[in-house]
């Protein structure tokens, strides 16, 4: 068995002649909260539908729990809970009966229904027809349904869609707790980097169907560390001098930037400049936010 819970190879989906998902190699390991990030229309939902066997890849393979999805779909899905795009429900039934209809297919004890209702705090409203629910309540019901079968892998496509700030916080805390308490692995998609940043330990960024980044969230954060921008007289000579003295500086013919952040290093660098009689006009910190990085990576069209 491979160490990956979810592994896709060259996963590709063409719709109407256009590759909506192209050569995606997803890698999710046990206990991960994997943030699947991308602007609208990037192909997140399409990828997730292929992971759940709802749509067939044009080519490429999906392995979940080490088994090929195309061969062992039912065995795999027994251990997967999902919420795709918007929550599914039967409007004329109550939340309880909706869960019961799914429970009968999963063959779990009836007590699970009360448990999951408790988890998403719908217990009080459980006996009302779902068509009278607010969007946020439907979203909670969708999450409850995903949790019903005590899944080992949870696939949540934009789970905080339509929730108010309190609801978002609540769901986020719930997601963060799951791997520790129940050993669940989670794939959660979003177009909000800040949201993923707050819960995921690994991130995959997809745009226009292509995976452009996949690594620990830590690595993404490092790219956001700040740099020091220097405005000096004769910047090119200053750059040479600083390099000769062992400072890590960049000169792009317009701006001189240094990759240091601690106060002491900045102070000695400025002292060196002054000693060599460069006029120092400005020393300013330029901190690239995660959002900036995300926008740069996705070609600037990502919404935040």
């Amino acid at each position: 068995m491979s160490k990956w819970i979810v592994e896709t190879n060259q996963l590709t989906k063409k719709l109407g002649g256009k590759a909506v998902v192209s050569d995606v190699n997803l890698r999710i390991k046990e206990g991960d909260i994997y943030g699947f990030l991308g602007p609208n229309g990037a192909g997140k939902t399409t990828t997730i539908r292929m992971l759940l066997g709802l749509a067939k890849p044009t080519y490429g393979h999906v392995h979940i729990f080490g088994h090929e999805l195309a061969r062992k779909r039912i065995e795999i899905l027994r251990k997967v809970g999902s919420l795709v795009e918007y929550p599914s429900f039967y409007g004329h039934l109550t939340a309880y009966d909706n869960l019961e209809a799914v429970r009968r297919l999963l063959d779990v004890p009836r007590s699970r229904i009360d448990q999951v209702l408790e988890v998403v705090r719908l217990t009080k409203e459980a006996r009302r027809a779902v068509k009278g629910y607010s969007l946020g309540m439907k979203q909670r019901l969708g999450i409850a349904t995903a949790l019903l079968g005590q899944p080992q892998l949870l696939v949540l496509d934009e789970p905080t869609n339509g929730l108010d700030p309190a609801g978002i916080l609540e769901i986020r805390e719930l997601i963060k707790r799951m791997p520790q308490e129940h050993g669940v692995t989670i794939l959660v998609s979003s177009h909000l980097l800040s949201e993923i940043d707050q819960m995921a330990n690994r991130v995959g960024i997809i745009t226009k169907g292509k995976m452009i980044f996949q690594d620990e969230t830590q690595v993404l954060r490092q790219q956001a560390r700040s740099r020091i921008q220097l405005a000096v007289s004769e910047p090119e000579e200053a750059w040479r001098m600083l390099l000769a003295h062992g400072y890590h500086v960049d000169w792009d013919r317009q701006q001189l930037t240094a990759e240091l952040t601690d106060d002491k290093a900045v102070a000695t660098m400025v002292a060196a400049l002054v000693q060599h009689e460069f006029a120092v006009y400005r020393v300013q910190e330029e901190s690239a936010s995660l959002e900036q990085i995300f926008l740069n990576m996705t070609g600037g069209e990502g919404s935040l």
């Binding site: 709802l54 997967v80 999902s82 795709v84 795009e85 918007y86 429900f89 039934l93």
Partner: protein, 244 residues
């Protein structure tokens, strides 16, 4: 499969679908009762006449229409609430989902047929038909009508699964049901027309010795079974590949 069946039951109970099964037999009962003048007392074959009168509207119009309505309603729950993607992402085989939907259509139609039979018996008993009840003929008629719905049910299920709209498959069904009135007169096309098959199978043939009614029961049954298999396989083949 059994679990699928019980899950589907959760969605179906307490819906209008059950009321629909009652309407046509009720109307047939009223028709039969109002035609009291047509049955002279002591007349021979009075049950057969009653079956002809009551079965005409029921089998020509309501049975094909109801088949379409049942198919559309069973798919409607899934289309409107995004049920397909939830259902098919659960550990169930697509074949059993499709099979259970089909079985429910046929089950509802079976209830309709039983109620029709009950309406016919009630009419006869209330009007005091002198003849003993011809059980064999009545049961063959009801069963025949039910079997003749198989191809149409398979066809309508395929259409209802394919189109996410509720009205479109129904409209198609209505459009194809109306010409029944003409098509049953054609010995050539009648038996091959899925919307006409229930009537041909249900109404006693010597009652109406014209057009497609002269067909032998074996031929009709053969046509029905073959077209049923073709439509069912077609719909099933589409459904197991469908992207949701």
């Amino acid at each position: 499969m059994m679990r699928m069946f019980r899950s589907e039951w959760m969605k179906l109970r307490r819906t209008v679908i059950w009321a629909l099964a009652v309407i046509s037999p009720l109307l047939a009962g009223v028709t039969g009762f109002l035609s009291a003048g047509d049955y002279e007392n002591g007349q021979e074959g009075v049950w057969q006449i009653a079956l002809g009168i009551m079965g005409l509207l029921h089998a020509m119009l309501f049975l094909p229409l109801l088949t379409g309505v049942f198919a559309a309603l069973l798919c409607r729950f899934e289309h409107t609430g995004g049920g397909w993607k939830q259902l098919l992402a659960l550990p169930v085989s697509r074949s059993s989902v499709y099979a259970v939907k089909f079985i429910y259509i046929m089950l509802l139609l079976a209830i309709t047929q039983l109620l029709f039979l009950a309406a016919l018996l009630a009419t006869g008993l209330l009007l005091g038909f002198a003849e003993p009840i011809p059980w064999r003929m009545l049961l063959v008629s009801a069963l025949g009508g039910w079997l003749a719905c198989l191809p149409l049910a398979a066809l309508q299920l395929a259409v209802s699964v394919a189109w996410s709209s509720f009205a479109a498959p129904l409209a198609v069904n209505v459009i194809f049901t109306i010409p029944n009135i003409l098509i049953i007169n054609s010995a050539q096309y009648g038996p091959y027309y899925p919307w006409a098959q229930p009537l041909l199978a249900m109404v006693p043939r010597d009652e109406m010795g014209f057009g497609a009614f002269n067909l032998s029961p074996e031929t009709l049954l053969g046509v029905i079974l073959v077209s049923f298999v073709v439509f069912l396989l077609g719909g099933w083949g589409y459904f197991i590949r469908k992207a949701v």
